[in-house]
């Protein structure tokens, strides 16, 4: 039986049974396309193989490193990306669309290309990598710092874009009214603007986290060792084949999904008004 939509917001004829059938056929193929490989990954596992791979210390280390890298990436994105997003939402200046385009560039750069480019800048002889090691003692190759750099490059646009759209949705007049009520600019930001834009900001950070934890191409070039989970899985695949790698892959999938759902819950769980309703 076809699930007929309960409500239909569109021209009446498009909601006809034939169109609904066609829509479910297309949608069904899409959903199968997404879910089948992922479910297949679990179908071949037993609880035993999953536990066994989870007990391997190098797999656990890789997972921990991936999570730490992605969390740090989201924090750095929040620290730099959110204020910049507010600036982009409120300021009008010449070249604003060019700046916005630059923010989007990482979305179109192949990740191995990003990795090589980052290596040339953050590597031993790079313009940032060299001085950073000489003067600050910070190394970007073979370290967590390098992993964060690679993850940040490919995932920062999600935070900046989502937060910018969220800030643009906050009426500047609300900020003005708050100022006249006696609040300084920073209090207005903390009490009015950020809470109202919170959902968009949190969505952006969640996407950045998800993109960061799944990054392979840029990370593998900048930091092969220590291995993040995707790199570890690739190595297991090359060495032992698909069956060995699939257990670790399933484990990474579970961890990523649980964290993703957790963050989404934090983002959307907030009620718009404490004790609201009439």
């Amino acid at each position: 039986m076809i699930a007929v939509p309960r409500t239909w917001r569109g021209p009446e004829s498009i909601g006809s049974p034939l169109v609904v059938l066609a829509a479910w056929l297309c949608g069904g193929m899409l959903l199968t396309f997404i879910l089948l490989p992922l479910l297949q990954l679990f179908a071949v596992q037993t609880a035993g193989t999953l536990l066994q791979v989870a007990r391997e210390s190098d797999v656990r280390d890789a997972l921990t490193l991936s999570i730490a890298g992605a969390v740090l990436t989201a924090l750095v994105a929040a620290l730099f990306g959110v204020p910049f997003a507010y600036f982009l939402a409120r300021a009008e200046f010449v070249g604003k669309s060019a700046v916005a385009a630059v923010v989007d560039v990482p979305l179109t750069v192949p990740h191995t290309v990003a990795g090589i480019a980052l290596l040339m800048v953050f590597g031993r002889h790079g313009v940032i990598g060299g001085p950073a090691e000489d003067f600050l003692g910070v190394r970007f190759w073979g370290t967590l710092a390098g992993i964060v750099v690679a993850m940040l490059f490919v995932s920062l646009p999600y935070t900046v874009n989502a937060a910018r759209i969220a800030f643009e949705g906050v009426d500047p007049r609300l900020e003005m009214v708050a100022r006249t009520l006696g609040m300084g600019p920073w209090r207005v930001l903390a009490r009015i603007t950020v809470p109202l834009a919170w959902r968009g900001i949190a969505t952006g950070l969640t996407l950045t986290f998800a993109r960061a934890i799944s990054e392979f191409g840029a990370v593998v070039i900048l930091v092969y060792y220590p291995m993040t989970a995707p790199v570890k899985i690739y190595e297991m695949f090359l060495r032992y084949g698909v069956e060995e790698a699939s257990a670790a892959a399933a484990l990474l999938l579970v961890v990523s999904l649980v964290l993703f759902i957790l963050f989404r819950h934090v983002a959307y769980g907030r009620r718009p008004v404490a004790g609201g309703g009439r």
Binding site: V177, R179, T180, V273
Partner: protein
């Protein structure tokens, strides 16, 4: 005492400008600032509230010069379009925010009882409600209560009704006028709708292209615009080019396309060519049967032909041809009795005191 004094205020902000804006608002009075969109009314209000730094000029609220102060230290109650309630806070939290801002700036000298304030504005039962579920009237009360909680010295209202339908607007206008009287607070009310004027203000200022073009008591400005632009802003339907023919100051003779009208009132210097404009509200043109017009009812009696009828609910707008186009407005229920229809002859009666002259 003066509630607000603005002197020589000039500012350029993108497409908007303020040019040498000066006026004073006496204590406890309400001034309506009227102008078309883009006249600079909102920029003026935002500059008084402290959001734009003027290039020149001074702003004083009460006895404090505030030109260099940030908005949070100016003690103004700001009410914006749709009332600007914070949607993520309850009504009580909105009002408490106004009170907290105050507590910070005045070191806890006088705490505000939020519940009592809500009750005073008749919204005590809505304390825990989200602003998003309030009616426009309730929103207005919440916004006024919130502004009042911060103990402002001056209210600034920026077209709060602009997004509402006509019925709601009338109701809210009535309530706002009552609250402003009860609060005994000076207020500046910005609008592009001249219907707001009489109900709310006792002073009226007209703005055009960043300048004040006329300012004074409501009755004065509302009935005696100084220019065609002022007459436009005030909604004068009839603006007719004419020429002064003669007569002494109390009763001047003006000819419009060959027809002579007698005009009472102040003489206006015409342009070098003797040209002048007659402005007249449609509601001041009385229509009667051409044959049984009451004798001596008005100084001017014109025979005309109906060109078009435009029903607007209770009122009907009638366009006449009297040798020139004349627009009259009358109760729709009187239309059949007068036999008004396109082509019908009718007599228009206009009192000399209802006609006003302005420079071209």
């Amino acid at each position: 005492m003066t509630a607000l004094a603005v002197a020589g205020l000039s500012l350029r902000l993108g497409a908007f400008t303020l040019e040498d804006v000066s006026f004073t608002l006496p204590a406890n009075d309400v001034m309506v600032v009227l102008g078309s969109n883009g006249a600079g009314k909102s920029v003026l209000l935002e500059t008084i509230a402290g959001f734009h730094r003027p290039a020149r000029g001074r702003i004083s609220i009460g006895d404090r010069e505030v030109t260099a102060l940030p908005p949070e230290q100016r003690r103004v109650g700001f009410v914006v379009q749709n009332f600007g309630l914070f949607p993520h806070l309850s009504v009580a939290q909105n009002v408490a925010l106004g009170a907290r801002g105050l507590r910070r700036s005045r070191a806890g000298s006088d705490r505000v009882d939020v519940a009592a304030l809500l009750a005073r504005f008749g919204i005590g039962h809505l304390a825990g409600a989200s602003p998003m579920v309030l009616s426009p009237g309730e929103k207005q009360r919440a916004a006024l209560a919130r502004a009042e909680a911060s103990h402002p010295d001056l209210f600034l209202l920026d077209e709060p009704f602009a997004a509402l339908d006509a019925a709601a607007r009338g109701q809210l206008r009535f309530e706002l006028a009552r609250f402003l009287r009860e609060l005994r607070l000076p207020a500046l009310f910005v609008t592009h709708d001249y219907v707001d004027v009489a109900a709310l203000g006792n002073h009226l200022t007209l703005m055009h292209a960043g300048r004040i073009i006329q300012s004074g008591a409501v009755d004065d400005v509302f009935h005696r615009p100084v220019s065609r632009i002022a007459a436009d802003i005030l909604g004068f339907e009839n603006q007719l080019a004419g020429r002064i023919e003669g007569g002494e100051a109390p009763l001047v003779r003006v000819s419009i396309a060959g027809t002579v009208l007698r005009v009472a009132g102040v003489a206006v210097t015409p342009s070098a060519t003797g040209e002048i404009y007659v402005v007249l509200r449609a509601e001041n043109v009385r229509l009667t049967h051409p044959i049984d017009a009451p004798a001596g009812a008005a100084e001017n009696r014109l025979i005309g032909t109906v060109v078009a009828l435009e029903p607007q609910g209770a009122l009907t707008k009638v366009t006449l041809d009297c040798g020139f186009r004349l627009i009259a407005s009358l109760m729709s229920r009187d239309v059949p009795a007068l036999g008004l229809a396109p082509g019908a002859a009718v007599m228009a009666l206009i009192a000399a005191s209802d006609i006003h002259l302005v420079r071209p």
